[in-house]
């Protein structure tokens, strides 16, 4: 919808949620365009949430064919093989999402996201990548930052019963409701690359062990040339060795990244549906906050372990 006022149809449809974030935020949502790369279970939940919220458009990128493994946590894929055979995950999910809200334009984009140029990214306001390799994360994040248009970037990954969210909103201004008054806040976010360069020893004690564990696994996948998530328990000895090397380089105690945690993450390539709902819900709300500029967003990593 390009008009300045919400249409009567929108006001009626979005009635219950306008009461939460106001008509102005709803207007901004209807003009926002979201790009999503990698449609796993968590992303399926995320897409459902932002489609119901009434964003302008959602573009899905995931050319992988539908397999039984994908059915495990992705509720958007119909269980009947004749409905999904021969089609990509993005195509199948696109159809399901359209049913949730016909007012949102849901489309599929083919190809590799990290090779697309900045003119492609210019079309979007929010970019979310899931189960992405270290290199792709850095590249796509950079492309978002290169443009003069401010694009919010999120990376999410759920393995076993754990979830990680990273947010880069660049220069973000928002309003926050505190008791009876509204205050304005301005935040400056680092890029993913900048964030992970912070020496581990310099980080506050309360930083979750998951942060470090995920960095180890991320590095492991890069060195071994693995696709993200293509790991198993058999990799544990190599990963432990890598952890020790990284810890030594960072003067960081190994016990801060427990063996058991790394083992869970390596063997947990599949997602756990309740965790998908939880992370998808949280990420959905973060995206809505970023688009509406209402409410304090995540700063800048979020971890969950069921």
């Amino acid at each position: 919808m390009d008009g300045e006022q919400l249409t009567e149809q929108e006001t009626a449809l979005y009635d219950r949620q306008i009461r939460v974030w106001g008509a102005d935020a709803q207007r901004r949502l209807s003009k926002a365009h979201v790009l999503v790369g990698g449609v796993q279970g968590t992303i399926a939940e995320l897409c459902k949430n932002i489609v119901l919220a009434g964003v302008g458009s959602v573009t899905l990128v995931d050319g992988r064919p539908v397999t039984e493994e994908a059915l495990n946590a992705n509720f958007l894929i119909p269980p009947d093989e004749k409905d999904y055979a021969g089609r990509s995950i993005a195509e199948v999910c696109c159809d399901s999402l359209k049913d949730f809200n016909p007012m949102v334009r849901v489309t599929v984009e083919k190809g590799d996201l990290s090779t697309r140029g900045t003119d492609f990214y210019e079309k979007f306001d929010v970019v979310i990548v899931s189960r992405c390799s270290l290199n792709a994360k850095k590249t796509i994040n950079q492309k978002c930052r290169k443009l003069s248009k401010r694009i919010a970037f999120y990376s999410v990954d759920c393995r076993d019963s754990c979830g990680e969210i990273f947010a880069d909103l660049q220069n973000h201004s928002c309003t926050q409701k505190k008791v009876d008054e509204t205050i304005e806040c301005h935040l400056q976010y680092p890029s993913f690359e900048e964030a992970i360069l912070v020496p581990w020893k310099a980080l506050p004690k309360r930083v979750s062990k998951l942060y470090f564990a995920m960095r180890v696994i991320e590095k492991f996948e890069e060195i071994e040339g693995r696709n993200p998530g293509e790991t198993s328990v058999a990799d544990l000895p190599t990963v432990l060795k890598l952890r020790n090397e990284l810890c030594e380089a960072q003067s960081f105690t190994e016990s801060q990244i427990p063996d058991a945690l790394l083992e869970r993450l390596l063997s947990g390539r599949m997602e756990f549906p309740p965790v998908c709902a939880i992370i998808g819900g949280i990420l959905g709300q973060e995206v809505i906050k970023a688009i509406s500029c209402k409410g304090e967003p995540l700063k800048n990593f979020f971890y969950f372990d069921a």
Binding site: R16, Q17, V20, K48, A53, G280, Q285
Partner: protein, 506 residues
């Protein structure tokens, strides 16, 4: 619908066959009912709820945790009457007032008029019998509709609207500030108009102010509706409406020296009694009787019921206008019609994200419940607010332990008495534990109470028989016991909350 009314559908068999109960309810009463059922049938309950971006999950495990009803939220605070009526300080107060005026002017007054006209003699004697300040106020309102402020044409309605504007937003404020000037002190010497009270200023009506005109439009249209007067096309034409309203003669206002204005926070009524209420009522009644003679015999008014969702009926327009003009008096920020509807309509906001979050969290607890071997410390209750963002997780609280002599129990426990005992034997069994039972009930029926001499006849009857005969309990063929609630005192006369007692008769 869940409640005592549907216990024929959701019967004992239904509950006994469940392994776990998961709530997805929309009100506290239903939740409390389900909690009671789960308590009785000893079933785990996974409770959750959302309110906009906030969500809450709670795990209830028999014997391990406290039940849902063990802790209650404090009741919602309602603004005191004098705040709403004379000293508002936020838009909620203004909207509450607006809602109340809407009802009074457009629903209650016409309804009272019709009650009087339909059965005048009954109505009059009821008012005389009541004889109080409220009856006096009601009669005054009826007389206003039928005589002093009666409307026959749409122009009359515009006049009424203009005079109401003057009364609400100019005269009442002038009276208030006359009685309590800006610099006046209370009896303790503190300034009367200190926070949170806001000092009001009267509004000067102007037909070129669109919000003033909008008030007139909504008010006239609704007033016309109550009198069954057709609404002309020009009523929604600002220029023409302004012309008509400018012709209304507005009398000068003189504040009264002895006006009674309620300032007590705890006051529940605004009608102030006076000695001559009965005399005034008599006078009003004779005026009304005279009035009735001048009206056509089938004359009735049309009470209007507030309908918030119809955008074309002017209800929300009128309420928003009332609230905003009042807000303007008190320098409170005004709201648009949509926001006014949300606040006045009291509808629960809902979004998909917090719902998904709550669902995911409940599912995580469900796995633990079904697994069956978890300690209390393994479960998690969560409170989250996605807007802040805030995530808070905690272990569930264990149930409260009651103690008496060497016994201890929680709300989950049952005491068991076998051997098909009589009432006397049941009471003796409790006395042996140092408990003096004075009342025994089954379901909602009283089986025994020490106050009633007739109940002594029941002492040697079997408890199970009493349940069947007195409480009319239907015992399924597979059931071997009946459950009774016994009220007890200890030797010092203190009440002790004891568990439900399962009396086995087979």
């Amino acid at each position: 619908r869940f409640g005592t009314v549907t216990e024929n559908v959701f019967d004992d068999n239904f509950w006994e066959n469940l392994n776990v109960v998961i709530n997805a309810l929309d009100n506290v009463n239903a939740r409390l009912y389900v909690d009671q059922r789960c308590l009785y049938f000893q079933k785990p309950l996974l409770e959750s709820g959302t309110l906009g971006p906030k969500c809450n999950t709670q795990v209830v495990i028999p014997h391990l945790t406290e039940n849902y009803g063990a802790s209650r939220d404090p009741p919602e605070k309602q603004a005191p009457m004098c705040t709403v009526h004379s000293f508002p300080h936020n838009i909620d107060h203004c909207l509450t007032w607006a809602r109340s005026e809407f009802e009074g002017l457009l629903e209650k007054a016409p309804a009272e008029v019709n009650a009087f006209l339909s059965s005048p003699d009954e109505y009059i004697s009821a008012m005389r019998n009541a004889g109080d300040a409220q009856a006096r106020d009601t009669l005054e309102r009826v007389l206003e509709c039928l005589e002093t402020e009666r409307c026959k044409t749409f122009e009359d309605c515009v006049t009424w609207a203009r005079l109401k504007f003057e009364d609400y937003f100019a005269n009442r404020v002038k009276q208030l500030t006359y009685t309590f000037p800006e610099d006046v002190s209370t009896s303790t010497g503190a300034p009367f108009w200190s926070a949170p009270k806001r000092f009001p200023h009267p509004l000067q009506f102007s037909s070129s102010d669109p919000s003033h005109l909008h008030f007139i439009m909504a008010a006239s249209i609704l007033r016309a509706e109550t009198f069954g007067i057709p609404i002309p096309d020009w009523s929604t034409n600002p220029k023409k409406l302004a012309e008509v309203v400018d012709k209304v003669v507005v009398p000068e206002f003189q504040p009264k020296k002895d006006a009674k204005i309620v300032t007590d926070d705890k006051a529940t009524s605004l009608s102030s009694s006076s000695v001559d209420d009965a005399a005034v009522i008599d006078e009003l009644i004779s005026k009304l009787k005279h009035c009735r003679k001048t009206l056509p015999p089938d004359f009735r008014m049309k009470p209007i019921q507030f309908e918030k969702d119809d955008d074309t009926n002017y209800h929300m327009d009128f309420i928003a206008a009332l609230a905003n003009m009042r807000a303007r008096n008190y320098s409170i920020p005004e709201v648009d019609k949509l926001k006014a509807k949300f606040i006045a309509g009291r509808i629960i906001p809902a979004i998909a994200t917090s719902t998904a979050l709550a669902t995911g969290l409940v599912c995580l607890e469900l796995y633990k419940v079904l697994d069956g071997s978890h300690k209390r410390e393994d479960y998690r209750n969560t409170f989250a607010n996605l807007a802040l963002p805030l995530f808070s997780m905690a272990e569930p609280v264990p149930p409260k332990v009651f103690k008496h002599h060497d016994m201890s129990w929680t709300v989950w426990d049952r005491w068991v008495l076998k051997g098909n005992p009589t009432l006397r034997e049941l009471l003796q069994w409790l006395e042996d534990k140092g408990l003096n039972a004075y009342s025994v009930s089954c379901g909602s029926s009283l089986l025994y109470n020490s106050m009633f001499p007739r109940h002594k006849e029941r002492m040697d009857k079997k408890v199970a028989d009493l349940a069947r005969e007195v409480a009319k309990v239907e015992i399924p063929p597979y059931r071997r016991h009946v459950d009774v609630v016994v009220a007890c005192e200890d030797d010092e006369g203190n009440d002790i909350d004891i568990p439900l007692i399962s009396v086995y008769f087979r």
